[in-house]
């Protein structure tokens, strides 16, 4: 899906990568920046948890910790709870099933399996809520798109937007 063809009526769901890449020195690709500036955004409770985990895990002795904590704290403070989307119990079941099967088929190690479960939960959250998921996690989202059913996905690399998809499972 090209960012320029995302309808003005679409609401975006952001992967954790978007918050982080958006605030790093390189920033997001121009197409994603334009999309974020012009579309309403919803937040996944999963991503809020991941960002908070990142905040908590920062090394107090690292020279960049003060600035990184300031940005994450500001970001979390700006998330309105009414704009947070949570996954249903049935959605968690679907995400677990998808991630488990994909992990087995791909031969993923345990750490990667847990990461894929989070990605699958985010993927299903977007499906349940009818939101367009924006993510920089191309490899895992591509896998989920192949077996997880129809979803509105906008994937980017830290260069220009690279891919795409709104697709049905085979």
């Amino acid at each position: 899906m090209d960012p320029t063809v995302v309808r003005s009526t679409e609401t975006l769901l952001l992967d954790t990568t978007v918050y982080i890449d958006g605030a790093k020195p390189l920033g997001l690709p121009p197409g994603i920046v334009a999309l974020l500036a012009s579309h309403p955004v919803r937040h996944s409770a999963l991503c809020i948890g991941e960002l908070a985990f990142g905040y908590g895990s920062l090394d107090p002795g690292h020279p960049a910790t003060t600035r990184n904590r300031a940005l994450i704290a500001d970001l979390l403070g700006r998330v309105e709870m009414t704009n947070v989307v949570a996954l249903s119990a049935a959605g968690w079941a679907k995400a677990g099933s998808l991630a488990g099967a994909l992990s087995r088929m791909q031969g993923f190690a345990h750490d990667r399996r847990r990461a894929l479960l989070i990605d699958a939960a985010l993927f299903v959250t977007a499906q349940e809520a009818g939101l367009t998921l924006v993510s920089g996690n191309i490899s895992d989202m591509d896998l989920l798109l192949q077996v997880g059913g129809e979803a509105k996905l906008l994937l980017y690399d830290v260069g220009p937007p690279v891919s795409a998809g709104s697709a049905a499972s085979p």
């Binding site: 309808r7 009526t9 679409e10 609401t11 975006l12 954790t16 978007v18 918050y19 982080i20 958006g22 605030a23 790093k24 020195p25 390189l26 920033g27 997001l28 920046v33 999309l35 974020l36 500036a37 012009s38 579309h39 309403p40 955004v41 919803r42 937040h43 991941e50 960002l51 985990f53 990142g54 895990s57 960049a64 600035r67 990184n68 300031a70 940005l71 994450i72 970001l75 700006r78 998330v79 309105e80 009414t82 704009n83 990461a115 989070i118 809520a129 009818g130 939101l131 509105k152």
Partner: protein, 90 residues
């Protein structure tokens, strides 16, 4: 109901909640407005919103305009505020 309808209804719901929390929706509805619109516009707005009354539709449209979400705009203005080596540790 498809994803578009769901997203529209979520936007209306969130806009109303934000405006309600801000006190904008307190008090009586004491201003009357009359507008002319195309039939198809009204029909599509009804379909997207799930609202049937003209008054509810106008109120929903005004709520969406009044409570625009600016998080995305804020986020793209934060470029460079995280260090390049920041990692959430997943």
């Amino acid at each position: 109901m498809d994803g578009l309808e769901t997203a529209t209804q979520l936007r209306i719901q969130h806009a109303r909640e934000a405006l309600s929390q801000a006190g904008v929706l307190d008090g009586a509805k004491n201003t009357r407005i009359t507008v002319r619109v195309q039939d198809r516009l009204l029909e599509l707005a009804r379909q997207r919103s799930g609202l049937s009354s003209d008054s509810d539709l106008v109120n929903a449209g005004l709520a969406l305009l009044a409570a625009q979400d600016n998080f995305g705009l804020w986020l793209v203005g934060q470029k460079g505020k995280l260090s390049d080596d920041f990692d959430i540790g997943r």
